[in-house]
Every structure is written in C-alpha cells, then in structure tokens.
C-alpha cells in the first residue's frame, strides 16, 4: 500500500511539472527533432543531444532536460524506422530491427512492421518507466548484486546464445562469434595498457568503432547486395491504415514476445555497462530459441521485431535508475544528460530525488508523455513512411551511403572510421556469400570487451581462483544455462538424422 501511495504522490508531483504547457512543448519539440534525426541512418541521439546541448543553456532546467530526454526517445524510435524501411540501422542498437523488420517491409508488410514496432516500443517504455517509478531502489539494490563475477557469467550466457542463434550450422555460428570476439580484442588492454592489433594507429587504440562496424555490416552490405540483384522492384502494398495493422495471428505471436523482451530489457537496463544493443540482440536470440518456428527468423518473423523493440525501450526506462538515482551514466547519451544537469547547477546523484522532487518526477513523467507523443506522431506517419518503399531502391543508394558516412563521422570525427565502414561492408558481403550469419559476429564484438574485462577482473580479485564462478548463485545459474544451451546445440547438430528434423530445414 505504501508503495502505491508513494507512487501516486510521485505521479501527481511529476504531472505537475510535466504538464506545464511550456514543458509539453519542449517535450514535443524534443521527440519530433529526435525522430527526424533518428530516421537518418547513422545519426542518433548522441549527436543530436550534443548539438542541441548549447541551445538548452537558455531554457529553464526542467524544460531543457525534458527536451533532451525527448530527443533521446525520439532518436531511438526513428532509428528503428530506418532499419525497417531501408534495411539500414539508424544506430547500432537498432541493427536488430533490420533482421526481421526489413524482410517484412520487402514482403509488403512494412506498415505492419512499423505499427508493431510502435506498439512494442510504447509498451516497453511504459513498462520500464513504471518499474522505474515503483521499484527504483529495489532495482538499484538488485544491480548491486552484480559483481564482476556475475557480469562475466551473464556475458558468457550472451555469447553462448549468440553462437547458437545463427541461421546456418552451429559451427558457422561459433566461428562468427569467435571472429567477433577477435575483433573486440583490438585496442588498448585496460589491465596492462598494452596495445593489441593496433599497428601503431592511434585510431585503433580504443578498439574498432561499433557504429562503423554495424553500419558497414548492415548498411553497406545491404546496398551491395541490392545492387547485385538484376531488378529490384519497388515494394507494392496497400496504404490504407487498416492494412497497416497486424492480423490477429500476428498479434498473438507478438505480445508474448513483447512481454519477454521488456522483462529482459528492464533487467539489463538497470546494469550499467551493458548498453549498446547487447540486450536487444540477446532478446532476439531468446525469441528464436523459444520459437516453434525458428526457421522464420530472418524472413520476417514478427516476434523477432516485437521482442527486441520492447526490450530496447524497457531498458531505456530502467537505465535511468543508475543514471538518475546514483548519477552513474548507463551509456554515453545518459552521460550527456547528466552533463546537462550539472550545467544547470544540479548535482546528479541520490540527492536529486530528495532536493528537487518536482524536477526528478517531472522528468520521469515526461518520459511517459514523450512516449505518447511518439506514438501520436508516428502512427499517422506510417502511411507516409511506407510510401518511401515505392521509391526504387537503387535511387536511395547514394543517400543511404552518404548519411551512413555522415553519421559515422559525426561520432568521433575520424576519417579512419569511414574506411572501417567500407571494409566491414565488404566483410559483410563476403559473410553473406559464405552463408555466415552476422548476428553472432556483432554480439561477439559487443560482448567481447566486457566479457574479457570482467573475466580478468574476477580472477584478479579472486587471485586466479576459478571457483568463484561456481560458488555465487547468480553466476552458477547463468553458467548452468550456458552448459545446457551448449549440450542442446550439440545434440541437435549430431543426433541421428530424423525425418522430421530434415523436413524442418
């Protein structure tokens, strides 16, 4: 009961701030701007917020933060739109939307994909924000249970799921994951300062840029593949709103996936250092694991779109917990938001909730309002977006490549990263010819660095004793699942061929 009364107090306090006309306007402006920029491939929340930051000095602090948070939500949402329509991720985390969203669009179900995405992200955000409002202290305490040992086990679980999620054989999935891990070793070894595989290039000393890798593997590869086809006919499809809604059968498949996705996203969001698409790709892997029809994944399975989208947005909500209650930035965008707070003379940390409750809860409630604006803004736009699909794809090539390059360049101003985009575009094409899935590779890259760091940190702290991984319950549980996944995958691969299994492939 106590929980509910305090929830009601916080909600009304927050509504008091968030519903001020000026703040509603800032929220809408942020969401709108974010969506516009987010739709462009490669351009995401980070660049938009850093460009906008100087302009927000002149706004009142609540308006400034609400607008920047709106940009965050909007850009995130827009990124997925681009993934679905063009097969080109708006930002690395949205790369997962390419996997099944883009095939849906190619089959003329682009409107359905966009609608599903909107609903899934709306649900995910609401779920994440609700958890944030109800259980922030509990979730923060849960996250504190995660020492390097638990992180290591969690990353191992992610890697195992990555390797066994592949479209092709287990061996190819493992190979792709290991290539990803190898790419992740490039850069400065944080434990010794030793430069690994950097060939004396300062640009490689912080590792291979994830955004360059994702844009190369997805955007450039897609352009090369499409250019290689003899005739790419524009996608035809109905433009009526009724035809943009998922069918009942699709809906039945999508909602459990959304529930699973948002749960996973909420947990990962509360753990600092696990952002960057880690949770969304994992959520995709899990959906494929639990699906009765895993062969549909990659061909336009609605679960493969709904779950990661819900996961992503639930994670945004809970990622605010370490950011707002502790002042620990969950990712680079949150770091910018905290910087904006400090510029307005607010010290992020546990005291914000106590000293400036109107601001704190107002900001959180404005996330909800921002989500509502997003849906209001984007559902009518679906018809317009789908029209984009009627443009012959080859006419979009130059634009896609150009914006991809602008987006990648804007993150670090390094021409070097543009060469990486090109290289990974070619790598992606080669992998396609070899029928090797890129998902395990991307997950290997994303998880490689935190996995290695936490593994070595755990062993440093335990003086090299491996038994810590088996004596701590969360770690033991995760590693048991890893072992089970491994055994199951091997069993499936090498059991005596059964007629049914043959038919499935």
């Amino acid at each position: 009961m106590d929980l509910l009364t305090s929830f009601a107090d916080h909600l009304s306090l927050g509504l008091g701030t968030a519903l001020l006309p000026a703040n509603l306007l800032y929220c809408f402006a942020g969401v709108f701007l974010g969506t516009l920029v987010g739709v462009l491939p490669g351009l995401g929340a980070l660049i938009t917020i850093s460009l906008l930051l100087p302009f927000t000095y002149h706004l009142p602090v609540d308006g400034a933060l609400i607008m920047l948070a709106g940009v965050y939500f909007g850009a995130d949402f827009g990124g997925g739109t681009c993934s679905i329509l063009l097969g080109v991720p708006g930002h690395p985390a949205a790369a997962v939307d390419v996997l099944d969203g883009y095939p849906m669009a190619k089959k003329g179900r682009g409107g359905v994909a966009l609608f599903t995405k909107a609903v899934a992200s709306g649900w995910g955000s609401s779920f994440g924000i609700l958890l944030l409002m109800l259980f922030a202290p509990l979730l923060a305490a849960f996250a504190r249970q995660f020492s390097p040992v638990e992180y290591t086990a969690l990353m191992a679980l992610g890697l195992m799921a990555a390797a066994t999620v592949g479209r092709g054989s287990l061996l190819k999935g493992l190979a792709a994951m290991v290539i990803g891990l190898m790419i992740a070793t490039v850069g400065t070894d944080v434990n010794t300062g030793f430069q690994r595989f950097t060939f004396g290039l300062p640009n490689l000393s912080d590792g291979i840029s994830l955004i360059a890798l994702a844009m190369g593997l997805f955007a450039v590869t897609e352009v090369i593949l499409s250019a290689g086809q003899k005739s790419v006919s524009p996608v035809r499809g109905s433009l009526k709103l009724r035809d943009q809604l998922p069918t009942k059968a699709e809906w039945r498949r999508a909602w459990p996936a959304m529930l699973r996705g948002s749960g996973l996203g909420a947990v990962f969001g509360a753990l600092p250092g696990t952002s960057g698409g880690m949770a969304t790709f994992l959520s995709y892997a899990i959906e494929k694991k639990v699906s009765k029809t895993p062969e549909e994944f990659g061909e336009g399975a609605i679960e493969g779109l709904a779950a990661p989208e819900a996961c992503n947005n639930a994670g945004i909500g809970t990622a605010m917990i370490p950011s707002l209650t502790l002042g620990i930035p969950g990712d680079a965008v949150m770091a910018l938001l905290l910087a904006a707070m400090m510029l307005h003379g607010i010290q992020p940390g546990p005291l914000v909730m106590v000293l400036q409750p109107e601001l704190f809860w107002g900001l959180i409630v404005s996330f909800w309002i921002g989500t509502a604006f997003l849906l209001i803004l984007n559902i009518p736009l679906i018809g317009l977006w789908v029209r984009l699909l009627r443009i012959p794809y080859p006419m979009l090539f130059p634009g896609i490549v150009l914006f991809t390059c602008i987006g990648v360049y804007s993150t670090a101003h390094a021409t070097f990263d543009l060469y990486l985009v090109l290289i990974f575009g070619l790598v992606g094409y080669a992998l396609h010819l070899l029928r090797i899935d890129v998902v395990p590779l991307v997950l290997g890259v994303i998880l490689g660095q935190p996995f290695e760091e936490n593994l070595r940190r755990s062993l440093l702290l335990s003086d090299g004793d491996f038994s810590v991984f088996l004596t701590r319950p969360i770690s033991l549980a995760a590693l048991t699942v890893v072992a089970a996944l491994g055994v199951a995958a091997i069993w499936r691969q090498w059991r005596p061929a059964q007629p049914l299994a043959r038919a499935e492939r």
């Binding site: 850093s50 930051l53 434990n191 400090m342 670090a412 101003h413 390094a414 760091e453």
Partner: protein, 324 residues
Amino acid sequence: MRNPITRLAPLAMAAAFAAPVMAQDYPSGPVTLIHAYPGGPMDAVMHVVAEHLSDRWGQPVVIDTRPGANEIIAADTVAKADPDGQTIFVGSESSFIYNPYLYDSLPYDPDHDLIPVSQLFDIPFGLLIRGDLPVQNVAEFVALMQQEGPSRSYGSFGVGNIMNVGMEQFLQAAGIEMRHVPYRVAGQLMQDMFGGTIDAVVSSSIMAVRFGPTGQMRMLMIDGDNRQPILPDVPTFAEAGFPDLHIRPIIGLAVPAGTPEAVQAEIQQAFAEVINDPAFVQEVVGPNGYEVVASSPAEFQAMIAEQRPRMQQLIADLDIHLEQ
C-alpha cells in the same frame, strides 16, 4: 646611435606595429576548440566557455571532439593544424605531463609541436572510500591497509590514468600496497564500489558531495592548501599528514607551434576573463569540482617543467609503458 636600444628601435617599431595588427585580426574566422571527451564534464564546461568567447570575439567558437588514445588523437590534430590560433587544444595532465613518459613514441613532438598557453583549471583530488569500510580517517585507513592491503583493491580508468598514478603516489607515501583494478566504464567502477568489490579511489570532490550525505562514500582527505568550502569536514593532504602529496588533474590550452605570441596572449586573456567571471565560477567551476588557475603561458610552461621530472620518476618507479 651608440645606444643599442636606439639601434633596435626600427625592429621594435616593426614588432609594435605587427603585434597589434595580429591581435586585432584575431580571430579572422571561426575558432575550434578540440578536446577528447565528448559528453564528459569537460565537454559541458567548454560549451559554456565557447559561448562566452564567441560573444567576445564576434566569431563562432565551436567544440570539436577527437576522443580516444589518452588525448593523443586530439593533440595530434591540433599539432598539425595551421598556427593561426584558430585551432586550440584543450587537454589534461595526460597530454601536458604524462604521455611523453607513458608512451614509447607519439605521433607529434610534445616538446616542440604544441605550445602550452594557459592552465585553465585544477581539479583537486581526494581519497574516497566506500561508505561501509570500517575506517573514519586516513590513519585508520593506512592501518587497515597495512594489515590487509594486498587483498584490498582500488579502482582506476586504466594503467597510466591519474586515478592509477595518483593512488600509487599516495600508497608510496604511506608505505602501503593495494591491488589495482582497472575499469573502462565509470558506471561499473561505481557499481563495484557500492557493491564492496572496490574499497577506494582517488577522485574529485564531486563524488564526495554526491554520495557523502547518504553515507555511501566517504572522502578521507583532499588535495589543496585549504579545505574545500563544500567539504568543510574533509582535511587537506597536509593536515592528514601528507604535505608532499599532490594529486590534481589539470585542464590546459595549447596551440600549434608558430602561433604568434600576440595571438597566444589574446587567447590566454580571453579565456582568463571568461573563467574568472564570478557567475561562471559560481555556476560552472564550483559544481564540477574545479578550481580556476588561468595562468600565463610562462607560468603554465614552468609548471609543466616542474611536474614532468617528478612524474617521469614515478612512472619509471611504477614501471608503466604504453606502446603507440
């Protein structure tokens, strides 16, 4: 014409004419401040500074970030820029003091390609411990570490980072040892500190202001001649028995070699005016745990010259090498 001064007069006159012309012309176009920390506190502070500079100069002042490689990429970009003062490097102790000794080689010559123009800020660091560590002052901390040091850990952002080098300075001075656990992500370091995996770090007053009141973290002492106004109960290093210990990251400016001295002077003056402004100090400097220095080029260069040999010795003692 016996007097050497009169003989030099034409030269002096030429210089006198040349210098104001240069300073008046400056800046003749947009000025770019380049640093390596997009989204960090430095980025936020520099955005405010840039806005004030732009008002003064009547030219756009933009912030450009070249992250990574301990500022080497950002410093190298400026080192190779035109020496017209319109590309300014904003860097930390990494570039101005450590990197020449940490790295076997750098893509630019740290002694000749960049001219240090002004140290803008100091950031006094202190010894911060997790709240549930059963010690209340530095003496108790040292006593505990004498007993259990090798199994206790401190965190940093990597080998050669000031959180590593600074803590080692303290450990050396106190004659104790602790295990070094490097991190890449700030969030995880703090989480491990809350969770009890990491016992201590050196950090600015920000963390103590943020987590002191809730008892989650405790600052035992902090660098500086006087106590920090926001942390009146925290003794200085000297008060706690370490008068020779100094852990204070810096933020300074540099321009490419060959930049006219008058332009350097104008840059130094413009920055000094902006950061010495009482409103700026109140709103931006204080809350970020900074202190204004605003030194002249000569003062900054002297400070670097004084610090470098000490750091060279320490880095050699700690046996840290980074390749590039």
